[in-house]
Symmetry: C2
Subunit: 404 residues, 2 copies
């Protein structure tokens, strides 16, 4: 662990780093905590070397490496990079101007069914839109694959009106609500639409949306965390959902049955502290029952029209992106447990993870999971093998006092 | 003003009092503050004498009496009593076993469009059900006259299921939602349904519901505040709505446009501290917009099925009827302003209205309006021309200390 190592988000990635991150995306599943944590501690090339050589390093222990070994043999990351470029796509890494910055991922609280929910370390993108710009004003519109005519019509109305207001529509390119959202945004043509895939850029899924996904790639942006050729799996869908939530300032559920995958996206949005909105429908429709449950539980605000969506993302979304270093402190936007953790990090003398956990009264695991994103957000720093607050984390524009 | 006068609710009414109350219902509009206040101060016969003779008395000043004079000439209340009985109905007064007791009316906060929203002083009833018993477990189901097929169907489903659970369905006998609610309750046949009319018992309105209202009178209860022969007016509808809210433990709005009369009933329920529930519907339906607005504003809880309605009236309704004189104090159920007022009433030395208003920091009008219902609830008493707390109002089971 090197005290001189700069967090990835703070510098432009080298070509070697880009290649290493692509390679790690190939051998590990998206959302892997071990890989993500290792990348916060060490340069990507070193992490990739460790994986290739099966040599434990930082967060990558014997067991994690054993899980990755099967995909290493004979793999050449240049081929993946080549393939992405031949498709007309690009590889985005932290530090790239297009990388969506400023999202503080409260890893500890995320998960549910799937435990591996770390932030992405590389994104494969295809399309003319600029990812970070598009995310500045975006809403994810999600819902049932088996949407009713009502759900599809309302999705179209809302998405068209939101796109016309300059809001990027983020969705998952699935049948039903997702498709209706992308199509309406394309029809409006005023703001890019973003399709976040669970498989590779060259594996459009569902196949019936082949043409739609091509249109999104031509006019907006298709995004995925997995390299070309990767197929979709149930786990990749669930991990993808957190990205849909993270890339938008609020999540709108138009129709969802009580056990719908779109409720997982809503859950990830809540984990991230993002507002969730739900469209009501007939109480006789099973496809609206999930929306009504969200509203009843106070997890979603009821919305009927685009102006109400704009109101929510304007009013509640302001504090969710990292604010300018000014009057409002970034910690204000953090979940309670993470804030408590941050309060336990000392200003001067760096301390270890166990000490922070003890002081904060939270688990060591939570600390291990949360520190990397606090590091990426510039709130903490590593010194002498321990952690301490940065000037920003400390809440002062000037530097903290020097170590004793 | 007599210190020895017992509040009407605490003793059985005499036949003379009943007659006088009927007469006052004939000459004054329902909800008249002047008549209601006078009846809290004096026996009904004296109030009626004052009206007949045009002689100012208590709350009935010159101006109020002038407004009533036009209907006095040649009127014989015996005829009204006779007419009610010939219809098969009965006249209910405070102190009757059937009188719905225990509702604390926060007069000061009620009103809105119509200022005269005092509690009823007499009710005309027709039907086999027992009013007070029926109110113990009741829900008012209200909504648009121009209901959609969806609204009518959901009203039917919910009302049928609620009636089957033993809940009395209270409504206004109007076309649309009201009618669907009464019909479903009649079909279930397990609990009485109550139709609260804005006109006289012999003036069924709307005419097209003549047969429905007869069925309710045969199986449940038809209620009104106005004597036979009285026609409906816009004001009587609005004043009637407070009674619909007051006779039920919660109000369910199934469909309502943004400027619907049923929102007035919901408003009166909120004034009374009763829970309001709303059924969502398609956002494309103008008849659901009022329901969605109530939910969005946090004024109504979203309900989709009967079990959710039962949950609300069980959980939130318990404290809304006057509790037994025990652990929970009746003042707990009072609106903030009325509680503040009550705190300003002395335990020992009686004081006047102006002094209470000054101490509580509320208007004299609010004090004048609220004291009669606090008197009826047994929380305050009149002594030596002023007001002081009773043992109950004082919050002790034993008597307050004797006056100094």
């Amino acid at each position: 662990m090197s005290a001189a190592f700069d967090p990835p988000a703070l510098r432009a990635p080298s070509e070697a780093e880009r290649l290493a991150r692509v390679a790690l995306a190939r051998v590990a599943e998206p959302g892997s905590h071990e890989v993500y944590l290792a990348l916060q501690q060490l340069p990507a090339e070193q992490v990739w070397d460790a994986v290739r050589e099966g040599a434990p390093l930082g967060a990558l222990g014997e067991r994690a490496l054993a899980g990755l070994a099967g995909r290493v043999a004979g793999y050449d990351p240049e081929r993946d990079l080549e393939r992405v470029r031949s498709l007309g796509g690009r590889v985005l890494c932290p530090g790239d101007p297009e990388w969506p910055e400023g999202v503080v991922w409260p890893l500890g609280s995320m998960g549910g069914e799937v435990k591996q929910m770390a932030p992405p370390w590389v994104l494969f993108a295809h399309g003319p839109a600029h990812l970070r710009d598009a995310c500045q004003s975006s809403v994810s519109v999600v819902g049932a694959r088996a949407a009713t005519a009502y759900g599809a019509a309302v999705t179209g109305e809302l998405s068209f009106a939101l796109a016309e207001s300059g809001v990027a529509i983020v969705s998952g390119a699935a049948y039903g609500i997702d498709g209706a959202a992308h199509r309406a945004a394309l029809a409006a043509g005023s703001a890019p639409t973003l399709a976040v895939l669970a498989g590779g850029l060259d594996v459009p899924y569902p196949r019936g949306h082949d043409r739609l996904i091509t249109q999104v790639a031509e006019n907006g942006l298709v995004i995925t965390e997995v390299p070309p050729g990767c197929s979709v799996t149930r786990m990749r869908f669930l991990v993808r959902n957190r990205l849909v939530a993270a890339l938008s300032r609020g999540t709108l559920v138009v129709e969802a049955a009580l056990r719908s995958g779109s409720l997982s996206t809503a859950g990830r949005a809540l984990d991230l502290g993002r507002p969730v909105m739900a469209v009501p429908g007939p109480v006789t429709s099973a496809q609206s029952a999930g929306c009504h449950a969200l509203i009843r539980a106070g997890k979603a605000v009821l919305v009927s029209e685009a102006s109400e969506v704009l109101e929510v993302i304007a009013a509640m979304g302001e504090h969710l992106l990292r604010p300018a270093r000014g009057a409002v402190h970034p910690r204000d936007g953090l979940p309670e447990a993470v804030r408590r953790l941050l309060d336990a990090v000392p200003v001067r003398l760096p301390v270890g993870v166990a000490r922070i956990a003890r002081t904060a009264g939270v688990s060591t695991l939570l600390v291990q999971q949360a520190l990397p994103s606090l590091l990426a957000a510039g709130l903490v720093e590593q010194r002498d093998g321990g952690w301490r607050l940065t000037a920003l984390g400390w809440g002062r524009p000037e530097k903290p006092p020097p170590p004793q």
